[in-house]
């Protein structure tokens, strides 16, 4: 674990300067392994149906982007994957979501446990109003995965390194996380999610509140995280989807219109609506 972290970080430092962009199509050689999959997922807010028969496979160690116009249900779908929708009263769900063969909506599933496997990063950076150290150490301490001070120190360091934030904050771990810049805050939130050691990371428009430079940094980070985590990202920015995602699903009116590897979807969409959307004719 420790060596793996070190490797990632040194690789991360190298890629920080020159942006490496491997076209997703070149990477898809073997049949990818399905990490999460939704089947016939329907969701209602009260009487209004927000998701219709969603079927989507999300592959391990790949980035799956969810795109579509506002209100199309992509964020709602994302929140189904770690059951954040449970927090909204009146939400009613039918269908199932599998995490490696386990139905996460099974009554026996513990939501708290599920969320340690499926982490989440939000649109607006939301670091806790605690120190940078505490932001990261909080969840491991809570879940008992890090107990001693030295264990936590290591975990904080490795998480920050994976999030590419270590060099910027190593000397001020005691300052409040809220005092960092927007982009740094978002990477802190990513580091915080990593510290729980999840298998899947959900990102809800993680860069939409950031300036272009910070966005680029976060995108690079997503690119690196892909090697170890399954990432599902909601984005309004089509270029971003094209840059970071191996697979892209196009949502419209609560349905998946088309899903394919990103290259094909963007260059050769099968559906007229997809083409209209990605060429900017609506949405």
């Amino acid at each position: 674990m420790e060596t793996e972290v070190k490797n990632t970080t040194s690789a991360g430092a190298a890629t920080m300067a020159q942006k490496v962009e491997t076209p997703p199509s070149e990477r898809q050689t073997a049949t990818p392994e399905v990490k999460m999959s939704a089947s016939d997922l329907n969701l209602w807010y009260g009487d209004t149906q927000a998701l219709h028969d969603i079927n989507l496979d999300m592959y391990a160690r790949e980035v799956t982007a969810l795109i579509g116009p506002s209100g199309c249900g992509k964020s709602t779908f994302l929140r189904c994957l770690n059951r954040m929708n449970d927090l909204i009263p009146q939400v009613h769900i039918k269908g199932n979501v599998m995490l490696e063969g386990e139905d996460i909506y099974d009554p026996s599933v513990d939501v708290v446990q599920l969320r340690t496997f499926v982490g989440m990063v939000f649109q607006k950076p939301n670091p806790f109003p605690k120190s940078i150290y505490e932001n990261i150490a909080y969840a491991p301490r809570l879940h008992g995965t890090g107990t001693s001070r030295s264990e936590l120190d290591d975990l904080v360091e490795s998480s920050l390194k994976r999030a590419g934030l270590w060099n910027e904050v190593a000397d001020r771990l005691d300052t409040p996380g809220t005092e960092l810049s927007g982009g740094q805050q978002q990477r802190l939130c990513i580091a915080r999610a990593i510290a729980v050691n999840p298998e899947v990371i959900l990102m809800d428009e993680p860069a939409s509140a950031l300036d272009p430079l910070a966005t680029a940094t976060v995108e690079e980070l997503i690119h690196e995280l892909k090697d170890n985590y399954t990432i599902v990202i909601v984005t309004h920015n089509l270029q971003q989807a094209a840059r970071v995602a191996g697979y892209t699903a196009f949502f419209h009116m609560g349905r998946i219109v088309e899903v394919n590897d990103t290259d094909t979807l963007f260059t050769n969409p099968k559906e007229q609506r997809t083409e209209d959307y990605i060429t900017g004719r609506f949405g």
Partner: protein, 389 residues
């Protein structure tokens, strides 16, 4: 060139608009001025009436512990000064001699308070017979009568003699009552608010509870006094007039205020903080304990302090539960009869003797000072810990 931007002076519509604006502004300034003038008048009146109570006249007399003084203290005072020395100062002389027989037959010189009417005369507030006026003026000129800071006002309890009456027992009573109120209302209020805000489902029942709590905050305080009388005294047999029953009654009154302000403080914590915590696998209680409560604590404390300040100034419900008693000795427990500052002010205000007028005003000054301090603490807490997310 045609000037299009400078013609407003001739445009009746624009001029009328400006006139309306300045008229409205004049009204609001007048309203502000009236409000400010009332406050200034109130404070000036209270302070000018009350400040003299913080001083009192004392007289230097030679106390002669003779045989007759063993039974009646007045005989220890030189005959010509008996009109001037406070009765309260000589009352204890027989007891002193009994407790310390060595005193008998000796004499010593001491500063003792003067009779309240003399004190009032020296402060220019009361007339005296001409003979007495002459005597007092001579004594003052000779330095036998002096004016000192009235510590006794802060260290002694109520008395039937104005020159000896102080606010100490009422202040202790207020403190005990507030302590009971805090211990009773704070945990119940905060816990209810946390449940309603963070845990409760949004259904008809919780909505009904919410409406009722809001209504409760608007119920006249005297109703709470009746409730306290019926429930605490009649049903549970809590001692009447005690700080316990007063505190519980005020606790009932403060409860809705604490619940409402706590809920507002909890609601002010941004949702992304909660979502972030949930997304890390926090249970609801962990979210509340580790993230929501620390952020809302200043708001909760502010609301509680304001609720307590309101309870502290409350008189009506306490009169109903008997806390308007004459309490010369400060209570030592919450089960003893006690009175509170506003009730003490009320008692003094209904005294016919002139010397109690300044006591009343001084009591109000002390009460206001404490309330202002409490409110300032609340403001300070809010400023210091405000929004750090």
């Amino acid at each position: 060139m045609q000037r299009r931007l400078t013609g407003s002076a001739n445009d009746p519509l624009i001029r009328a608009r400006y006139r309306r604006e300045s008229r409205f502004k004049a009204y609001s300034i007048t309203a502000l001025f009236v409000a400010f003038a009332i406050i200034v008048a109130f404070f000036t009146d209270i302070i000018s009436q009350g400040y003299s109570a913080f001083w009192r006249a004392e007289i230097e007399v030679t106390l002669d512990y003779n045989e007759r003084a063993e039974r009646i203290g007045r005989f220890a005072i030189p005959e010509d000064l008996r009109e001037i020395v406070s009765r309260g100062a000589v009352r204890s002389i027989p007891l002193q001699i009994r407790n310390n027989p060595a005193l008998a037959g000796t004499s010593r010189t001491e500063w003792v308070p003067v009779y309240s009417r003399i004190d009032q005369y020296l402060k220019g507030k009361e007339e005296l017979p001409p003979a007495l006026v002459r005597q007092v003026d001579e004594l003052k000129a000779a330095g036998v009568i002096r004016t000192t800071f009235n510590w006794a006002f802060f260290t002694s309890g109520d008395s039937k003699l104005p020159e000896l009456a102080g606010i100490f027992s009422a202040a202790v009573g207020s403190l005990l009552v507030l302590a009971v109120t805090l211990v009773f209302a704070f945990p119940i209020g905060v816990m209810s608010a946390i449940y309603l805000e963070e845990f409760a489902p949004d259904n008809k029942l919780t909505q009904a509870i919410e409406v009722n709590i809001n209504n409760l905050a608007a119920v006249p305080s005297i109703i709470f006094g009746l409730l306290g009388l019926a429930v605490f005294i009649n049903t549970f047999g809590v001692p009447r007039s005690s700080a316990l029953v007063g505190g519980l009654t005020l606790g009932l009154m403060t409860l809705p205020i604490i619940i409402i302000s706590t809920r507002a403080a909890l609601r002010a914590v941004p949702d992304p903080i909660r979502l972030g915590a949930f997304a890390m696998g926090c249970s609801r209680w962990q979210v509340v304990r580790d993230h929501v409560l620390p952020l809302s604590l200043p708001g909760i404390l502010t609301g509680t302090i304001i609720g307590l300040a309101q309870a502290m100034g409350e008189t009506a419900p306490l009169i109903i539960v008997g806390m308007i008693a004459y309490i010369p000795e400060a209570p030592t427990s919450i089960f003893e009869s006690a009175t509170v500052l506003p009730a003490q002010v009320f008692t003094w205000a209904s005294e016919p003797r002139k010397a109690f007028v300044e006591k009343t005003a001084a009591g109000i000054i002390v009460l206001l000072a404490i309330l202002l301090t409490l409110n300032a603490t609340a403001v300070f807490l809010r400023r210091k810990f405000e929004r750090r997310w």
